[in-house]
């Protein structure tokens, strides 16, 4: 066991300063852009990060990285979180990148991979559909073979960051005669192809996501990832890939609760503590009230607890804590916490009412918390399966 301070040598400190200075200089405009759009990516910043080799830093220089040490990777992750840089597109891209590297032909790799680290190519995940969410194997989007091409037809939903992505990893039904999860194939669909239409969906959590329509989109077979009808195996492997900036190699560093929604809870706690220490009424601050102190201590406890476990355990806990604590904080702070960002009288510049809204989505996306509870029950505790396959 070790939770001690990491010794940072001079070159690493220099790198850290460089990252800090750069992100300090862009933070305000990037955060403001994200408030306005909910894009989940800032394309200009993304390109700049790629230019510096900071998107996939552990890669060698000739592949677009900087040969970064695990510590440098952890520093980058920590700083990106600290500066509230939107990373949705980035994490989607990293997940698909790993699948392409595992399953793509040399030809496909040569076409798409070099641009990824440079920040010129982004991916999104075309899994969910209007009638297939938690039960992903029931997707209806069809992929029909026609000579050397696939004809993709159907509709994907909640395809976050599709509007700034170059390719979508599409889960499609290639053989409807086979049992549910056995007739699926994964295809990397170039989003510039004719027949694709992307429309916006806006969420309660200030996120823009998308509906993507595929109208007889023709894709050459070399964009297929993994064997025909074997998408389930490809997906299972994809789930094992931790998304993020080399986090698997920096797993022994504490990157500030970066693996789950506890980071948002920590920001919320920061805002609440600031409120409790500064607002004053009749010579008393909220922190002088034991009820306030004890609630903040409860939330601080959830932050410490929720940041430790990864996987389904971390996912369930961090989402539940965020949902409960953001609601409780609104009660604690009172009606003024309902005032929106930028309005006069807003507490914490509207952070609490935003976080309360945002929290609800965390129990849903990337697989609901109920799906993760079933994973804990079945894969960790060994309980019998609760659902038909």
């Amino acid at each position: 066991m070790n939770f001690g301070l990491v010794e940072v040598d001079e070159p690493t400190q220099k790198f850290w300063n460089e990252v800090r200075d750069f992100l300090d200089s862009v933070e305000e405009s990037v955060v403001e852009h994200e408030w306005k759009t909910g894009d989940g990516v800032n394309v200009e910043l993304y390109r700049q990060l790629g230019e510096r080799g900071w998107l996939m830093p552990s890669l060698p220089v000739e592949e677009g990285g900087i040969d970064a040490t695990p510590l440098q990777c952890a520093i980058l992750t920590k700083e990106l979180h600290l500066h509230r840089i939107p990373l949705n597109s980035y994490s989607n891209t990293m997940q698909v990148d790993a699948i392409i590297r595992a399953y793509g032909t040399p030809e496909l790799l040569a076409e798409v991979i070099p641009g990824v680290a440079r920040g010129e190519v982004r991916f999104c995940l075309g899994y969910t559909e209007p009638d297939a969410g938690s039960d992903l194997a029931s997707v209806k989007t069809r992929a029909t073979k026609d000579g050397d091409e696939w004809i993709v037809s159907g509709q994907k939903m909640f395809t976050t960051t599709a509007h700034y992505a170059h390719y979508a990893l599409v889960l499609a039904r290639s053989d409807p005669t086979l049992p549910k999860r056995h007739g699926l194939t994964t295809i990397l669909v170039p989003l510039s192809s004719p027949g694709i239409e992307i429309t916006a969906i806006h969420t309660m959590g200030v996120e823009r996501t998308n509906m993507v329509f595929f109208d007889d989109v023709r894709v050459v077979d070399r964009y297929r990832l993994g064997p025909v009808n074997q998408a389930w195996t490809v997906m299972a492997n994809a789930l094992k890939i931790e998304h993020g900036m080399g986090e698997s190699s920096s797993a022994h560093y504490d990157v500030d609760g970066g693996l789950n929604f506890t980071r948002t809870l920590a920001l919320t706690l920061d805002a609440a503590v600031e409120w409790a220490l500064s607002e004053e009424s009749a010579g008393r601050r909220p922190i002088d009230d034991v009820l306030v102190r004890n609630k903040l201590a409860e939330i601080a406890t959830h932050v410490e607890l929720g940041r430790l476990p990864s996987g389904p355990v971390g996912r369930v806990l961090s989402s539940e804590f965020l949902i409960k604590d953001t609601a409780d904080l609104i009660d604690l702070i009172g009606a003024r916490s309902l005032i929106a960002r930028g309005e006069p009288g807003a507490v914490g510049d509207g952070w609490f009412e935003y976080a309360h809204r945002f929290a609800q989505g965390t129990a849903i996306y990337g697989g609901t918390t109920d799906i993760h509870r079933s994973m804990i029950a079945e894969q960790i505790l060994g309980l019998p399966r609760s659902r038909a396959t």
Partner: protein, 362 residues
């Protein structure tokens, strides 16, 4: 909280091979020596003399005492690993209290402390610590007091060892723990280990160690309770299927597992800080204790529920776990005050203006 400091910490939960061996060997020993039949047979006193002798034989009783005082100098990480196994097996021995008391005696760095320590190491007497103590003359609940002929406790401005020729009487309680309800004045002899601020500091530290080790024991207890529920839910059928396939049950058990898993990590992290950076350990220990009491209670409660009517009977082992949760944590031992302490350390460090939440300051 997120912080802008340019520093990075390791987060490595892996155990050293010696630590893993210690954990495994205590697990194996207790698997052999401490079945739930043994636990039941030790009731109502909640003490198995043979098992305690075994603990002495393998060096567990003095492992936490510094080598300079005749112990093995084990750290709190190692002690937590043993406490977790004790919890897992509901071991009817005062490992936590005795360990905290003997470390406190050693830290007092006094002739009186040394004298009592040698009684522990050489004569095998049980010494406990009155962690709930807040005032002098009144009777107070003393954990392991009914099997200890000496108790370390605050008394006026002093920290004293109070002794009596034989351990005071058991007071019957929910968890069949060896509690006694005694005024310190009823002990025949009291000798001072420290006075004034130093007495307070030593005692505060001991209370934190008790909370840390108790958090580990509660995690172990919760995990065993959960295992009982999971095994039952796999076997028991209703409506033609195993009841564990119903999400109403399995998701509750999944939640219980998630909490216990995280609390175990927090408890071990707190132990690491207590060993390596004690100045930063207090809030983590209080958080581990707080969450361990809740997570272990939920595991034990869910277990009774999953076992249904059977789980509510005295024949079932479910009740053995359930009755001990509140008892081992001494009904939470001032959780509201702990929250206040967490808040004070985290949000208003150094501000003496923050009044204590309840009662007297520690």
């Amino acid at each position: 909280m997120s912080d802008r400091a340019m520093s990075m910490r390791y987060q490595d939960f892996s155990l050293e091979s010696e630590q893993q061996a210690l954990f495994d060997s205590f697990g194996a020993m207790l698997d052999r020596e401490c079945s739930t039949e043994v636990v039941r047979a030790a009731e109502p006193l909640g003490f198995d003399e043979g098992l305690w002798r075994k603990f002495r034989d393998v060096g567990a009783v003095t492992m936490g005492v510094p080598t300079s005082e005749g112990g093995d100098g084990a750290g709190l990480i190692e002690l937590c690993l043993v406490a977790e196994q004790c919890g897992r097996h509901l071991a009817p021995v005062p490992f936590v209290e005795s360990t905290v008391a003997s470390r406190l005696l050693a830290r007092s760095n006094s002739a009186e402390g040394r004298a009592q320590l040698s009684r522990i190491t050489e004569e095998g007497v049980v010494t406990t610590v009155a962690v709930l103590s807040s005032s002098d003359g009144e009777p107070q609940l003393i954990p392991a007091g009914a099997v200890a002929d000496a108790v370390v406790a605050p008394y006026g401005d002093e920290l004293v060892v109070a002794r009596s020729p034989k351990a005071p009487e058991l007071i019957k309680n929910m968890g069949t723990a060896p509690l006694t309800f005694q005024a310190l004045s009823n002990y025949s002899e009291r000798v001072a280990l420290a006075v004034d601020a130093r007495a307070g500091d030593l005692f505060s530290e001991a209370r934190l160690e008790w909370k840390l080790l108790t958090s580990a024991a509660l995690v172990g207890l919760g995990q065993s309770a959960l295992r009982l529920a999971v095994d039952y839910a796999k076997e028991r059928t209703a409506f033609g299927v195993p009841i564990g396939s119903f999400q109403g049950l399995s998701h509750r058990l999944a939640n219980a597992h998630a909490e216990l898993d995280a609390v175990r990590m927090l408890s071990r992290k707190a132990a690491w800080f207590a060993d390596h950076e004690p100045e930063g350990a207090a809030p983590l220990i209080l958080m581990a204790f707080l969450t361990a009491t809740r997570a272990s209670l939920e595991a034990a409660t869910a277990t009774i529920h999953v076992l249904g009517g059977v789980g509510f009977t005295l024949e079932s082992d479910a009740q053995l776990y359930f009755r001990r949760v509140k008892t081992w944590s001494l009904a939470g031992a001032d959780l509201a005050r702990d929250l206040n302490d967490i808040s004070a350390t985290r949000f208003t460090p150094g501000a003496s203006a923050v009044p204590a939440a309840t009662g007297a300051a520690r």
